[in-house]
């Protein structure tokens, strides 16, 4: 019984926050502001818990207690970051920053070059080694990919003036980019509507008797709030207009 109570409460909270955030679409209002500020706190609180139980306790505190004393080094490096708040000693934070930056840069460099540079060149020229066994369509497509990629790169070539052949190539490149952006736009439309559908579907679920009609009641209250506010604002304005 208690359990179902908490679920009903959850449904109300959930439906309420959803509607409050959606109310921004009508206009900025106190309900949205409440939800917005709540979200700031909730978001950071969530991350805090996640880091506390996902990183600090299991990765630092527990191993340290079990005798992995070297872990004091990363903890100190981590704490050094916090000196940012004290300008006089903020230079200490450089130790933490440089560690993170060095590690990130060193890890990313060889991998990026291999996966996103060399392998992409290989992928572009590889089809040409199998021309004999490919259909005409496939041959044309591999040419298009190679030429398209080169033309797009020409568009991003900054240190020469874009005229003559470079201009032509970069113009072709723009069309490839436009097709890509268009396709990407079209595909995203799908994604976003899926999300909205997810929200509507949930609100629909919450409108049932098992959630004590959370959705319709909250919608009515919200609309009532806007109506009241509109009415009061009008009154205030008209009051001000007549000295």
């Amino acid at each position: 019984m208690e359990n179902s109570m908490s679920i009903i409460l959850g449904g109300w909270l959930s439906a309420g926050l959803t509607i409050f955030l959606f109310s921004f679409l009508y206009k900025d209002n106190p309900l949205f502001k409440i939800a917005e500020h709540l979200y700031l706190g909730v978001g950071m609180g969530w991350w805090f818990i996640v880091l506390l139980y996902g990183t600090w306790i299991p990765k630092a505190y527990e191993p340290f207690m079990q005798g992995e004393y070297v872990l004091i080094i990363p903890v100190l490096l981590g704490l050094s970051l916090v000196t940012q708040f004290i300008p006089r000693i903020s230079w200490i934070s450089r130790y933490g920053f440089t560690f993170i930056m060095g590690y990130g840069a060193g890890l990313v460099l060889p991998l990026n070059l291999a996966t996103d540079f060399m392998a992409q060149i290989a992928g572009t020229i590889k089809p040409f080694s199998q021309l004999a066994s490919m259909s005409w369509g496939a041959i044309i497509n591999s040419f298009l990919i190679a030429i398209g990629a080169v033309c797009v790169l020409a568009y991003f070539y900054f240190s020469v003036e874009h005229k003559g052949i470079v201009k032509k190539a970069s113009n072709i490149g723009i069309y490839f980019l436009m097709i890509y952006f268009g396709a990407s736009f079209g595909n995203t439309v799908m994604a976003r509507f899926s999300l909205l559908y997810g929200r509507f579907d949930l609100l629909y679920d919450f409108s049932g008797a098992s959630y004590a009609f959370a959705t319709p009641i909250i919608i009515i209250l919200t609309v009532g709030f806007f109506a009241l506010k509109h009415f009061m604002d009008k009154k205030k304005n008209s009051g001000a207009a007549q000295p």
């Binding site: 917005e36 700031l40 969530w46 840069a105 460099l109 199998q130 080169v150 790169l153 900054f158 995203t188």
Partner: protein
């Protein structure tokens, strides 16, 4: 003297073994023919997890099935089946290795056996023994001698030599450009959206409304954020000159503390340190959508004259720009996150695409160092273009004339091992 003795013992052992093992296993009769020249050795270029078995492949192997049995040298256990495959399935040329690290071809079998698959506790140095058996129609037809070897960890991953060469090449080019950076200005092509920055700031000054500048939602070690900060430096310099107001909401605390310095420095350089306010940079949230919700709220309430979105953005891009557009702001966006470009493109007044973001800092500041780095990036692109054009033609020609070695070599060079 000693050597011959050893050899003798070894050979007698070699010949004795099959008989001995039969005797021990109590199994039947005839000794199987020997699979000759089989070798077990440490798998090269790895971290010591595998042992490599090699033996010659015969042309009349068709229809043969090979089975590999393994055990640790010290254990009393039975032989365990470690691998089994049909003839020609695992020849050495099928091993994923580039030509510079691997010279074995299709006339050899090459099989990698993970040491952990033989014994879960096996480690580097544990001696493992193997036996290869050949079957035809389910009947054993040949068997190898017992081959023992231990794995070792290696100090260089030779197949990745191509990647290393690339890193060295780019580092060398990098230092060369760096050392020449101080020389005269370099040409840089016009970047359309950037000319609008002045207009946007001017408009903000006229209207007496603030300018919002978002540095995106990435950390300090990524290019897009670094690029964004160098643009921020130039923008805030102009803001200081025009005596307008800039607000920079942040997603990442480290980026925020760097941006504070950047903006402050710009005000000093513009000769207006007194107009600088420390709260121009402020932290919102490290949660993507609460960042967006909060920034949306601010834009809606303050109705800024201009919004700049420069850096890395994900789904929040349109959340921000639609609100900015409905608030009537001039919007200039720049991102290298391709998935968001279409949205910036349709909802902003000016959009810098991909790498234009990186170039923008150099374009605005004309700083020699940034310009020469841009030049270096262009060289990288030139390398790619030439590789595709020349490599494509070369590989097509080679394929036509059946220079398979060249084709494989060229592809090997660009493959990631």
């Amino acid at each position: 003297m000693k050597k011959t003795e050893l050899l003798l013992v070894f050979f007698s052992f070699l010949f004795l073994w099959p008989g001995l093992s039969f005797a021990l296993n109590g199994k039947s009769n005839i000794a199987l023919p020997l699979i000759e020249d089989a070798i077990a050795e440490d798998m090269p270029y790895d971290s010591g997890g595998d042992i490599l078995l090699r033996w010659p492949a015969d042309e009349d192997d068709e229809g043969v099935v090979y089975e590999i049995y393994a055990k640790t040298e010290s254990s009393e256990n039975e032989w365990k089946l470690a691998d089994s495959f049909k003839a020609f399935e695992k020849t050495a040329d099928k091993m994923r290795m580039p030509f510079w690290a691997w010279s074995h071809g299709s006339d050899e079998y090459a099989v990698k056996i993970p040491i952990k698959s033989v014994d879960g506790d096996a480690d580097i140095g544990t001696v493992l023994c193997f036996k290869i058996k050949a079957f035809r129609d389910g009947k054993p037809i040949a068997e190898s001698a017992i081959l023992c070897a231990s794995s070792d960890d290696n100090w260089f991953n030779l197949p990745r030599l191509n990647g290393l060469l690339m890193v060295i090449l780019i580092t060398a080019a990098f230092f060369m450009t760096m050392s020449r950076a101080k020389k005269k200005g370099l040409f840089i092509r016009r970047i359309a959206g950037l000319d609008a920055i002045d207009e946007a700031i001017g408009r903000a000054t006229e209207m007496g409304k603030p300018i919002y500048y978002s540095t995106g939602i990435n950390g300090m070690s990524s290019v897009n954020t670094i690029a964004s900060l160098s643009i921020l430096g130039e923008v805030s310099k102009k803001v200081a000159e025009y005596d307008s107001i800039i607000k920079v909401p942040h997603y990442d605390p480290i980026v925020m503390s760097v941006a504070k310095e950047t903006v402050k420095q710009s005000y000093i350089e513009a000769g207006r340190p007194d107009s600088y306010h420390d709260d121009a940079n402020f932290f919102l949230s490290s949660d993507q959508f609460s960042y967006a919700a909060s920034l949306d709220g601010m834009i809606e309430r303050e109705k800024p004259a201009a919004c700049f979105f420069m850096g890395y953005f994900l789904a929040e891009s349109l959340l921000l720009t639609e609100v900015g557009a409905s608030a009537g702001a001039i919007q200039i966006a720049a991102t290298d996150s391709e998935s968001q470009l279409p949205f910036f493109f349709t909802s902003c007044d000016y959009t810098l695409i991909g790498e234009e973001l990186y170039a923008a800092g150099a374009y605005l500041s004309k700083e020699p160092m940034l310009l020469s780095v841009l030049k270096l990036q262009d060289f990288g692109k030139l390398f790619m273009m030439l590789s595709v054009l020349i490599g494509g033609i070369a590989i097509a020609l080679a394929a036509v004339f059946h220079c398979d070695g060249f084709v494989k070599g060229l592809l090997d060079f660009f493959t990631n091992y």
